[in-house]
């Protein structure tokens, strides 16, 4: 045991002595958060990488404001993001029950008229309960739209009164596209005064199909809280793998041979290596999560349970890659095989695509990835729960891998 500690101490000393490589690892979380910011920052005009989200629109109003709203989904940018279908309320409910769409937005009756009267109105967002991520995006979007409509209604209060004059006559002729230049012009004005608009004329009422009546907090969704864990676990795997590859280089440059000549045993060595990888992963992960909280305002939930999750995930990663590197013949083999393993597990485990969007026929594969357990663990903690299943799965499989790693290293070092 004292020899294990000696190696760990030596590793830490080395990391401190050549801070550049360690810094490089630590920079990754920063680069990662910056990257996410770039991709998803609407101000940068970047395209979201998500495939179109299926949305059902129910127009009970059938008036100018609702046409406006529905017309908005025909806009080019929004078309890339949403695949909107206008349906009747009955039809919509049926489709939602079948899980055919991520969310349904209901524009209530008198939406236009109430807006014209400066009364508070509500958009109703019905979310698909089996999905978490995509409905939340719809909700976020509807929220933004509501703010925009609110603004319009207040700034153009007089003009909107036309609605009342026109009454219920058909307004098919007015298209959203024709009005776009006008909207564009007033956008600056809208943005500037947005914060003075209060109270908002349009509220957002959210409900989840399975549990009617439960209204989620309008501000509860943070898109980064959904994206960061997935990216983080993928980068974490790369980082820990790179540090576990030390097993290979130390074997190649004779250090392990020299160690094996001393009383040091293979399990002492493997234990030290796993601990070092764990420590590095923990550092990187904590840093990235702190960045997420500071930069993107992510509310991770209880930090104690989060720490436990990060700790077991890092342990799993170190043990797993310790095992692979003990199996691998040399550094090249490790380099060639580790990356595909990480990428495949990222693809099936929810790092590249949100778990909800993985076709259900392949969804079961997620259970075999560390990504899945980490991501769902983060979500559960964020929702105020304790992810006992994630803890259990990661800890047990991590211990197993650690054990196999010791045996594999023993074989590798003596043949």
């Amino acid at each position: 045991m004292s020899r294990t500690i000696l190696i760990i101490k030596n590793d830490i000393k080395r990391r401190l002595k050549s801070p550049l490589s360690t810094l490089l690892f630590l920079i990754i979380p920063f680069a990662m958060t910056a990257l996410i910011g770039l991709i998803f920052d609407p101000g940068a005009g970047g395209e979201t990488k998500l495939p179109p989200i299926k949305v059902l629109l129910v127009d009970l109003d059938q008036n100018i404001a609702s046409k406006f709203f529905i017309g908005a989904f025909d806009q080019k940018q929004l078309k890339d993001m949403f695949q909107a279908t206008t349906v009747s309320e009955n039809e919509g409910e049926k489709l939602m029950k079948k899980g055919k769409a991520s969310a349904m937005i209901i524009i209530p009756e008198r939406f236009s008229l109430d807006l014209a009267d400066q009364k508070s109105v509500r958009l109703v967002v019905v979310k698909n309960p089996s999905e978490e991520f995509l409905p939340a995006v719809v909700e976020e979007f509807a929220d933004t739209m509501a703010v925009g409509f609110s603004a319009l209604a207040q700034i153009f209060a007089d003009e909107i009164k036309i609605i009342k004059l026109v009454g219920n006559t058909s307004l098919e002729k007015i298209s959203f596209a024709e009005l776009t230049p006008f909207l564009e012009m007033s956008r600056v004005k809208i943005m500037a005064i947005k914060k003075f608009l209060s109270p908002l004329r349009i509220g957002l009422k959210t409900s989840v199909m399975a549990k009617p009546g439960q209204v989620s907090k309008a501000k509860g969704f943070n898109i980064f809280a959904y994206i960061l864990p997935g990216m983080l676990i993928m980068f974490l795997l790369f980082i820990v793998e790179a540090s576990m590859r030390e097993i290979q280089s130390e074997r190649a440059d004779g250090k392990i041979r020299r160690m094996m000549f001393s009383p040091l045993t293979t399990h002492e060595l493997m234990l030290a290596r796993i601990f070092s990888g764990w420590l590095l992963g923990l550092l990187v992960c904590s840093l990235a999560m702190a960045m997420g909280a500071l930069v993107f305002g992510i509310d991770w939930g209880d930090y104690f349970w989060l720490f436990i999750l990060v700790a077991v995930t890092c342990f799993w990663s170190a043990a797993f890659f310790g095992m692979l590197n003990a199996f691998f013949r040399n550094k090249n083999q490790a380099g060639a095989l580790a990356s595909p393993i990480i990428l495949v597990s990222a693809a099936f485990g929810g790092s590249m695509l949100p778990l909800e969007q993985i076709p259900s026929s392949m969804r079961w594969l997620a259970g075999f990835t560390v990504n899945n357990w980490f991501i769902t663990g983060c979500r559960e903690i964020g929702a105020g729960a304790i992810p006992l299943v994630s803890y259990g799965v990661l800890l047990v499989s991590g211990l197993l891998f650690g054990l196999v790693a010791v045996m594999a290293l023993q074989r590798r070092l003596t043949t």
């Binding site: 020899r3 004779g254 041979r257 020299r258 000549f261 001393s262 009383p263 043949t415």
Partner: protein, 315 residues
């Protein structure tokens, strides 16, 4: 006489599922306090031997007895052996002192004692003044010296060095060989491998020549030289192919002239009587073999090596 400290018997090891033999019934005895030079060209099996002795290579046959006990049955026994691998096996980002403390620490030597030993060793390898510098900044020779020092930190009774002088300049080599001699004088038994003749000639109390996994000859320098006898070694060079030279020299081969080796453009011959040299030159001239140079040397280890292996010992 004392029993040997190390006795290797019929050690055989083949790589690639037996297709590539590296050691073939290799046997060697070693007496306490000896400095043995194991001389062999690249691929002779030197590193394979050291790896087996260090316990990092399995699937071999044969036995190794160290101090009267089976070396592989007892891990603690192996801890009494020091190894200096062919590679620079230490942490380059750390200093020399830090490395010695780490590697010594693996042997659970008390810290105070360890520190003293480390200082003594740094003095031995002349690195005391640069003990704290990161090793990255060291020259090749300094790194080699530290590599030796680390192998000695636990005061082993037997020190194995695998090509400790490879890839460094002449001066650095001299200094390494000097260290090896000093270690030998302090009573440590030493085996070092090399493919450089001059090194074993200067350093060792005993020399073993190996090639293709077996020992071809062993003994003191003088004993080995007697293998080629009291002959003059003639090295001729010129514009000729190995085949051409072989054909041309064939009629002259009798007891007085012996072929040690023939390669393109160079041939080594042993003459029992140097009076035969002009006759040989004349014969070659008649055969239209043009010679550019001819050297005559007294018998040396190189000649022994050539005779035993039929090939030259170059990097």
């Amino acid at each position: 006489m004392q029993p040997p400290i190390l006795e290797i018997k019929n050690l055989s090891k083949a790589y690639d599922h037996g297709k590539n033999p590296a050691l073939v019934n290799f046997s060697l005895g070693l007496n306490k306090g000896e400095v043995l030079g194991l001389l062999g060209p690249n691929g002779a099996g030197k590193t394979t031997l050291i790896s087996i002795l260090s316990g990092t290579l399995r699937d071999f046959s044969g036995s190794v007895v160290f101090k009267g006990m089976d070396l592989f049955a007892d891990r603690q026994l192996r801890n009494q052996i020091g190894i200096v691998p062919q590679e620079m096996a230490f942490y380059e980002e750390l200093g020399a002192m830090e490395n010695l403390m780490f590697w010594g620490g693996l042997y659970s030597i008390p810290e105070k004692e360890l520190k003293k030993r480390a200082q003594d060793l740094l003095a031995l390898v002349e690195l005391s003044s640069r003990a704290k510098e990161p090793i990255k900044k060291f020259s090749g020779g300094m790194k080699r010296r530290l590599n030796v020092a680390i192998g000695l930190i636990h005061q082993p009774e037997l020190l194995l060095l695998d090509e400790p002088t490879v890839g460094i300049d002449v001066q650095a080599k001299v200094s390494i060989l000097d260290i090896i001699r000093q270690v030998g004088l302090q009573g440590t038994t030493v085996v070092f491998t090399t493919h450089q003749l001059a090194e074993v000639e200067q350093t060792c109390s005993r020399i073993a020549i190996m090639d293709k996994g077996i020992i071809l000859a062993q003994g003191t320098l003088n004993e080995l030289i007697r293998i080629v006898g009291e002959k003059d070694i003639v090295i001729v060079s010129g514009e000729f192919s190995a085949d051409r030279f072989s054909d041309a020299i064939k009629p002259l081969i009798h007891n007085d002239i012996e072929i040690l080796s023939i390669t393109d453009n160079e041939a080594h011959l042993a003459f029992a009587n140097s009076e035969g040299i002009p006759g040989m030159m004349q014969h070659l001239f008649q055969q239209h073999v043009s010679l550019a140079d001819l050297k005559i040397k007294s018998p040396n280890l190189e000649a022994v090596f050539l005779k035993l292996t039929g090939r030259s010992l170059r990097d």
